[in-house]
């Protein structure tokens, strides 16, 4: 029996007008696997991510989640299926309060269909204390995001992805703009995803970051998959050598 993947893309292409962003991409994310996605700017990493999260619909090709064909994957459907994303853009609403950002697009409601503001605030408070490490009294669930630092904003985006019991967490350039210490913490967090049996797709410019947390590395180049490596079967030096080669020639060999 063929193993079921958490997510599988078969022969997916995406065009934006004349531009072919992705060409016949096959991508798999296994059970309890962390896949690192590497590639130069414009290689199609963000497009691939946004197809996985339902933000873009592929021009052609098929999407399977847990072995089930998904005809049209939208953001709400992806979130319902347990895919949460920490976007490069962070996807925060800066003028809004912390609790509104945590529950952005997934507001909790009472049985009468009205917003359960009290519950959202108390959950936010709990998350702040337990997961975000905000202990200063200046920050409360009613603080607006615009007053936060870059690291704090990233923390909000990550905690939000965790809150909804995601089975698959997609991190798009999460280390961008973070300090060294914050970056180390983030990498620990990605390893933690693996420890608790979940899966992740991790995108980063930095090959060291990706190599240190990923089980498998997928290299994208000009909209196509140039190669895949299991990190325990390739040394970091060899991987870097191959990356340079891909960047120069567009192929691995």
């Amino acid at each position: 029996m063929e193993p079921t993947y958490r997510i599988e893309l078969r022969n997916v292409s995406k065009n934006f007008g004349e531009v072919e962003s992705l060409k016949n991409v096959d991508f798999k994310l296994g059970q309890n696997e962390v896949v690192g996605l590497l590639g130069d700017n414009g290689a199609g990493k963000s497009t691939l991510i946004k197809i996985l999260t339902g933000y873009h619909q592929p021009t052609s090709g098929e999407i399977y989640i847990d072995g089930q064909r998904v005809e049209s994957l939208t953001v709400p459907l992806a979130r319902k299926l347990g895919i949460e994303t920490v976007y490069q853009e962070r996807a925060l609403a800066e003028l809004q309060t912390l609790w509104r950002n945590i529950f952005l697009g997934r507001e909790l409601r009472t049985p009468y269909g009205l917003l359960n503001v009290k519950k959202m605030k108390s959950e936010t408070n709990k998350l702040m204390l337990e997961s975000m490490g905000f202990s200063s009294s200046a920050v409360n669930p009613d603080s607006t995001i615009e007053t936060f630092s870059g690291g704090e904003k990233q923390g909000v985006a990550i905690v939000r992805a965790l809150y909804f019991d995601a089975e698959i967490i997609i991190l798009d350039e999460p280390t961008m703009g973070l300090s060294l210490k914050e970056t180390r913490k983030l990498l620990d967090f990605v390893r933690h995803i693996k420890d608790v049996g979940k899966s992740a797709v991790f995108i980063d410019h930095n090959i060291f970051h990706v190599y240190s947390v990923a089980d498998r590395v997928v290299v994208l180049d000009r909209g196509q998959i140039a190669g895949e490596f299991n990190t325990d079967a390739i040394s970091l030096d060899d991987l870097m050598e191959k990356m340079y080669h891909v960047a120069e020639t567009g192929s691995l060999d």
């Binding site: 809004q96 300090s179 983030l186």
Partner: protein
């Protein structure tokens, strides 16, 4: 990056007590604008009483005030949601008129006020759909699209009625008439109660429904809202429809109040409605604003209107002052926003 940002995310738990008590300081801070407005309102009132005591100590002016202010308050409330959502609607004065054209078309042959009211509201929804179609469907900036529909709907009203007005004397005494513009409690015009009911309804929509949460989000950062799965277009469509519905309703109230419909109905409401929203602290850039602020804003505008006339200034002054209020309140908001950043 500063040291307090080092606690990023991660699994380390920081133990701490969870207290949920009412904090007066926070309440004052987060409602400073509204509290300030209440002070302004009473300050103005005192000023008017001192300047024209014989007028402002007699009840008549308050009845007039409570009959006319609701007409634009009822439109300023949903307009607040339109502007929070990052859009603009300048067509509402003409929607008041086109709603009444639909009203007349049903009322004249049938004499049924209830059906006529439904027709007016349906026309309001239709006008809202037209605006949403141009803005959401075609992608025209709402400021431009609704200037277009403002003229188009005005022209349509004039063409359909050949520029003629229509009497509504026959509607007097009907149940709907009494319900809308009668006086049920203590001589206070029902328009006043309608403005309160609609304010409560708008508050619930904006603060206690997903629609309301999404209105704030799309006005703040449309890209983020889309990335997190908010149906941006449906939300924009809904705010334009609510605006159309409210404008048509206000048109019915305004016409029944004077028992006559002029096809120019609505002209003169543009400034007072916009001034109410911006005086109420709604950001012209979207993303922030409150229903309470707009509600207070419209009654302050109404008081200024009454005051200007009572003190003996001419009506010319009202436009000058409304214009000034819009300029000052928007500028203040922009300056304050810059200081935060």
């Amino acid at each position: 990056m500063s040291s307090e940002t080092e606690e990023l995310s991660g699994m380390d738990s920081v133990p701490g007590p969870q207290k949920e008590s009412f904090n007066w300081k926070n309440f004052l801070r987060s409602n400073a604008t509204q509290l300030g407005m209440i002070l302004v309102f009473f300050g103005l009132w005192l000023f008017f009483i001192l300047s024209a005591p014989e007028t402002f100590l007699s009840p008549q002016i308050y009845y007039a005030f409570m009959a006319t202010t609701p007409l634009f308050a009822i439109m300023a409330l949903p307009l607040t949601m339109v502007i929070i959502a990052g859009e603009m609607d300048l067509s509402f004065p003409s929607i008041m008129a086109i709603g009444m054209v639909a009203f007349i078309f049903i009322f004249e042959p049938t004499g049924n006020v209830f059906l006529a009211l439904l027709a007016a509201l349906a026309a309001g929804v239709g006008a809202g759909l037209l605006n949403a179609g141009l803005v959401v469907g075609i992608g025209i900036p709402s400021l431009v699209a609704t200037i277009g529909t403002q003229f188009f709907l005005r022209g349509l009203s004039l063409v359909l009625l050949q520029g003629q007005g229509a009497t509504l004397i026959e509607a007097r005494g009907s149940f709907i008439y009494n319900l809308l513009v009668g006086k049920i409690i203590g001589g206070i015009p029902n328009q006043f109660w309608w403005s309160i009911a609609i304010a409560i309804l708008c508050w619930v929509i904006l603060n206690r429904t997903r629609l309301g949460a999404h209105i704030y989000l799309i006005g703040d950062n449309q890209k983020s809202a889309r990335l997190m799965g908010v149906n941006v277009n449906r939300t924009r469509l809904t705010v334009f429809i609510m605006m159309g519905l409210a404008a048509a309703f206000a048109g019915v109230l305004a016409s029944l109040q004077v028992s006559f419909f002029w096809p120019s109905l609505g002209e003169g409401y543009l400034l007072s409605t916009l001034a109410s929203v911006f005086l109420g602290g709604t950001s012209v850039f979207g993303g922030t604003g409150t229903i309470l602020g707009t509600f207070l804003g419209s009654y302050i505008i109404g008081a200024i209107n009454a005051g200007i006339v009572a003190i003996g200034l001419t009506g010319f002054w009202t436009e000058l002052i409304y214009g000034l209020i819009i300029i000052i309140s928007v500028s203040m908001h922009v300056v304050m926003q810059k200081r935060i950043k």
